[in-house]
């Protein structure tokens, strides 16, 4: 059932002016030349709005609706209680409060810095980056500041594997670096010879995720670290796949110098349809002085304060990042503890392996961990995904990484039961047996049928104003 736009339900124009009494019966308190003339927006009642948004919510598939095996996106169940702790009124404080008056907030952040350091094997952590990509950018900026500080400002290249997340490339570019793309070897891992060739005295950093986007552990990680360090570069860990390794291996122990954590992927904060996230960054001692300001420290006597790292890059967010997300992160880690975190990675890897064993599509690279990339073969992976929607499940990430033709990048996470995985496998296999025409017609059982992307991009209609102009 179609839900009209709010503007299709009502549009009311309110006049503004020194002599136009507003709804409150008073004239504008400002001279007319400082105000707009009018404001035209929907004016609807609470019951109408509640129904509008309730209806909209019913047209959305969330993790509470069913499996969501988006490879590399790590959609796991978001424990409900974390919403409760984020809503505690005592946590609703202004960022400019005196440090003495927000000791609780500072202690929680301090403890979270500590938790994350332990989990990543890192010496110092900033919680300021408001998303994973922002974390990458901080890492890049920290690396740049470090090199600059050491008189090595000439380093202008960041090496990124071909199969890396798009944000790695973009974050490095935003940081002003030339991006050197690194091909994979035949087994889907970093090609050491290619790496050797790419490394130079101009290398600022190598950005790596491990396991990589094929789910494979970079077995040569120690050698890679040595190679990068030998040329004076830094090793950056993209935390997108950290859920695979929790308690089994730590980036710090593998030789990484700097990393970001995707708290939604690893610590189950809700994705909210595209954020807010948080992308804390951990570094080794040597890089700690360059982290964003402020961080939290303690005098060891239950008193907490903000401080500015010695060579800080400054700020990357107007205040302290996404507080509400950080509270949930803290609560999740405190709930699970050592055993829970370690169990999460075990079950995530078991689930991926089990699911792969049940589906008829070929999985060319292994041994994978928390995710695998199957190939749709002769089918179009994007069509496969659309068709899977008709079976009541969410499809995997498609057509990426490109190293696998018609990739179906699949990550069930630890929260799916065997029953659900069996249901998911059944959906994969049902689609595997269908013809192209059926796939191209899909989806047919969803709120909307296949949506025309080309027309959306060719003649962009980005607001209800544009739509109503069109109609006129």
């Amino acid at each position: 059932q179609y839900e009209p736009l709010l503007s299709e339900k009502d549009l009311t124009r309110v006049e503004i002016g020194e002599e136009n009494g507003g709804d409150d019966g008073d004239d504008s308190p400002l001279p007319d030349d400082l105000t707009r003339d009018s404001l035209e927006l929907p004016e609807l009642s609470e019951p109408e709005l509640v129904r509008h948004y309730t209806r909209l919510s019913q047209m959305i598939y969330g993790i509470d609706s069913g499996p969501y095996p988006l490879g590399s996106c790590t959609m796991k169940y978001n424990p409900k209680f974390t919403e409760d702790v984020a809503a505690l009124p005592d946590g609703a404080v202004h960022p400019d409060r005196s440090e003495e008056s927000v000791q609780g907030t500072l202690e929680l952040l301090y403890r979270l810095q500590d938790y994350l350091g332990r989990i990543g094997g890192m010496d110092a952590v900033t919680l300021q980056p408001p998303a994973g990509a922002a974390g990458e950018f901080v890492g890049i900026r920290v690396a740049a500041a470090y090199h600059e500080h050491n008189g090595e400002g000439h380093r202008d290249e960041v090496i990124v594997p071909e199969s890396a997340h798009g944000t790695n490339f973009a974050s490095a570019a935003l940081g002003g670096y030339e991006v050197v793309s690194l091909p994979s070897d035949d087994e889907g891992r970093v090609d050491l010879e290619a790496l050797e060739a790419a490394l130079s005295e101009n290398t600022a950093a190598l950005m790596l995720t491990n396991p990589n986007t094929l789910g494979l552990f970079e077995r040569d990680i120690e050698e890679i670290a040595e190679m990068v360090h030998d040329v004076g570069g830094l090793l950056y860990y993209d935390g997108a796949n950290l859920n695979a390794l929790l308690g089994r291996a730590r980036p710090g122990d593998m030789g990484f110098d700097v990393m970001h954590y995707n708290v939604h992927k690893t610590f189950a904060t809700p994705h909210g349809g595209g954020g807010p996230g948080a992308g804390p960054v951990g570094v080794v001692d040597e890089l700690a002085p360059f982290l964003p300001s402020p961080r939290v420290r303690t005098d060891g006597d239950a008193s907490y304060e903000l401080f500015e790292p010695e060579h800080t890059i400054g700020k990357v967010h107007g205040f302290h990042g996404n507080w509400l997300v950080l509270v949930k992160t803290f609560a999740y880690i405190a709930r699970l503890g050592d055993e829970g975190l370690t169990d999460a990675s075990a079950k995530a890897v078991l689930n991926a392996n089990y699911l792969a064993s049940r589906i008829e599509y070929d999985v060319p690279y292994e041994p994978f961990h928390h995710e695998f990339v199957a190939s749709a073969g002769d089918q179009d992976a994007a069509d496969v995904a659309k068709r899977m929607l008709d079976y009541g499940v969410h499809p995997p990430t498609t057509k990426w990484p490109e190293i696998v033709p018609e990739a179906l990048m699949t990550e069930p996470t630890e929260v799916e039961s065997k029953d659900t995985l069996d249901r998911l496998a059944a959906a994969f296999n049902a689609v595997a047996g269908e013809d192209d025409a059926t796939l191209e017609d899909a989806p047919e059982r969803t709120t909307a049928r296949r949506i025309d992307q080309t027309s959306a991009a060719r003649s962009p209609r980005l607001s209800w104003q544009t739509l109503s102009e069109e109609e006129e």
């Binding site: 736009l5 709010l6 503007s7 507003g22 400082l34 707009r36 404001l39 035209e40 609470e46 948004y53 919510s57 047209m59 959305i60 969330g62 509470d64 996106c73 959609m75 796991k76 505690l88 609703a92 404080v93 202004h94 400019d96 927000v102 609780g104 332990r118 989990i119 094997g121 922002a134 950018f137 944000t167 973009a170 570019a173 940081g175 077995r219 994705h271 349809g273 700020k315 967010h317 107007g318 205040f319 405190a334 050592d338 055993e339 999460a344 075990a346 079950k347 078991l350 064993s357 961990h369 630890e414 039961s417 065997k418 017609d441 949506i451 992307q453 959306a456 991009a457 980005l462 607001s463």
Partner: protein, 447 residues
């Protein structure tokens, strides 16, 4: 273990029974989960982080007891983060799990509801700014300003490198901006303000062909309302520079439309509607002229049709984005603040245009009323700036501002210290009773 699931150890959110685990291991041909990990021994970790597991109840109690250590103060704080009352329905609706637990809308056929809500959010900003395009969120005001500068860098018509910002600019925004332009050849320079507003003559002197962007805020960080924005727009226009304006949805409900003063880009914090005080968490507002359509950073939702020709929404112009364009993307942003944008749209819809205009008007009146009341106190002069104000203003105190603020804190009130003898006071989310209490407390403190 009250309330716990039967899994005595391990993740409480992993549903595997012992039998299932065994069956799954058998299916994959392993005897133990450990076999599935392909990690060289040298980098193996023993799993001992030293973090205790807790029950749900214990965890809630832990966070509650930590946060309880915060003092319970009445905050008359603003300067970019505001504690307006958020109607209850925003919490109840935004917390519906379909909104909260969904991913970015890469499969629009099962994401129509969120896409429509974001489309409505974009439309709200289009009406507020008068500009044709609004993206469906950045992180916050500071990063949106940074993105505006990189946009200016991409679309600049000159070889210039200068980005001009007011000397009053909040440090967090300035510093974030510096980081965003660090990878470009842009340089950030300050222009002077006078009596809490842009010093237009000085700005004019400083503008040349090397200027790529001029940034101003309305209201300013000190709560003053700018009076000659159109002239800044003209200056920028003449110099071939972008005019980026900082504002927010409440201010924009009443103040001059950005498009009418020549703004090319509007940035700011849109979460003044939708989010309660949350230690600075925000929502980056980003709107711009249609001309920059292919250069906009961030996500855009567009209307389209589905295979049956019915209206449908989808993320669009994704070739600007990092997951497709990689290092040539218009921004590195991926996850943004979609759920906050949803809340902002809901709050705005609850207010309606009349409620939004009223809220802004009240912000002017109440700030001016409070300034007058504190001005009546001996040893206080307010407002310091001879301007109109929205929701906050600076007051001059005879005694050291820091001491006054500390005394106020002892009495339960938090205000900003913005100079040796300057306090900044914000009425945004305060009730009348709270303001009365504050005036009483201030009168005692300055006595």
């Amino acid at each position: 273990m009250t309330g716990s699931h039967s899994h005595a150890t391990g993740s409480p959110y992993a549903p595997h029974t012992e039998e299932e685990r065994a069956a799954m291991l058998e299916a994959v041909g392993a005897e133990a989960v450990e076999e599935l990990f392909d990690i060289p021994e040298a980098v193996e970790f023993d799993g001992e982080f030293g973090i205790d597991a807790r029950t749900e109840r214990e965890t809630r109690e832990l966070v509650r007891s930590l946060l309880e250590r915060n003092d319970d103060l009445t905050e008359l704080l603003g300067r970019g983060h505001y504690g307006y009352y958020v109607p209850s329905l925003v919490d109840h609706l935004a917390d519906r799990s379909e909104f909260l637990t969904s991913y970015t809308q890469y499969q629009p056929e099962v994401s129509q509801g969120f896409l429509q809500a974001l489309f409505e959010y974009q439309s709200l900003l289009v009406e507020l700014t008068g500009l044709e395009i609004a993206n469906c969120s950045m992180y916050d005001a500071a990063t949106a300003l940074g993105e505006a500068a990189t946009l200016a860098d991409r679309v600049r018509s000159t070889s210039g490198t200068r980005v001009l910002v007011p000397d009053l600019l909040r440090e967090g925004r300035r510093s974030t901006l510096e980081n965003y332009v660090a990878g470009t050849d842009l340089v950030v320079e300050e222009y002077p303000t006078e009596d809490g507003g842009v010093d237009l003559a000085a700005l004019e002197d400083g503008v040349d062909d090397e200027v790529v962007m001029i940034y101003a805020e309305n209201p300013t960080i000190r709560g003053t309302i700018e009076e000659r924005l159109d002239e800044i727009g003209d200056l920028a226009d003449d110099a071939g520079a972008l005019f980026a304006l900082g504002s927010d949805p409440i201010a924009l409900s009443l103040l001059e439309r950005p498009v009418d003063v020549g703004a090319d880009v509007v940035v700011g914090d849109a979460s003044v509607l939708g989010l309660p005080t949350s230690y600075g968490m925000g929502l980056g507002l980003f709107a711009c002229r249609e001309d920059y359509l292919r250069q906009v950073p961030g996500r855009l939702v567009g209307a389209s049709e589905d295979a049956t020709d019915r209206r449908a929404y989808t993320l669009t112009l994704q070739t600007r984005e990092q997951h497709i364009r990689r290092e040539r993307a218009t921004s590195n942003i991926c996850t943004n603040q979609a759920w906050v944008a949803l809340r902002t749209a809901m709050h705005a819809a609850t207010l309606g245009p009349s409620g939004m205009v009223d809220l802004a008007k009240r912000g002017v009146r109440r700030a001016e009323d409070l300034a007058e009341r504190v001005d009546d106190l001996v040893g206080v002069e307010a407002p310091v700036h001879d301007r109109h104000h929205l929701r906050e203003f600076v007051a001059r105190v005879d005694q050291p501002a820091r001491a006054i603020a500390a005394d106020l804190e002892d009495r339960g009130y938090a205000v900003h210290v913005v100079g040796d003898h300057e306090l900044q006071i914000c009425v945004a989310g305060a009730t009348d009773e709270q303001i009365d209490g504050f005036v009483e407390a201030l009168s005692e403190v300055v006595r």
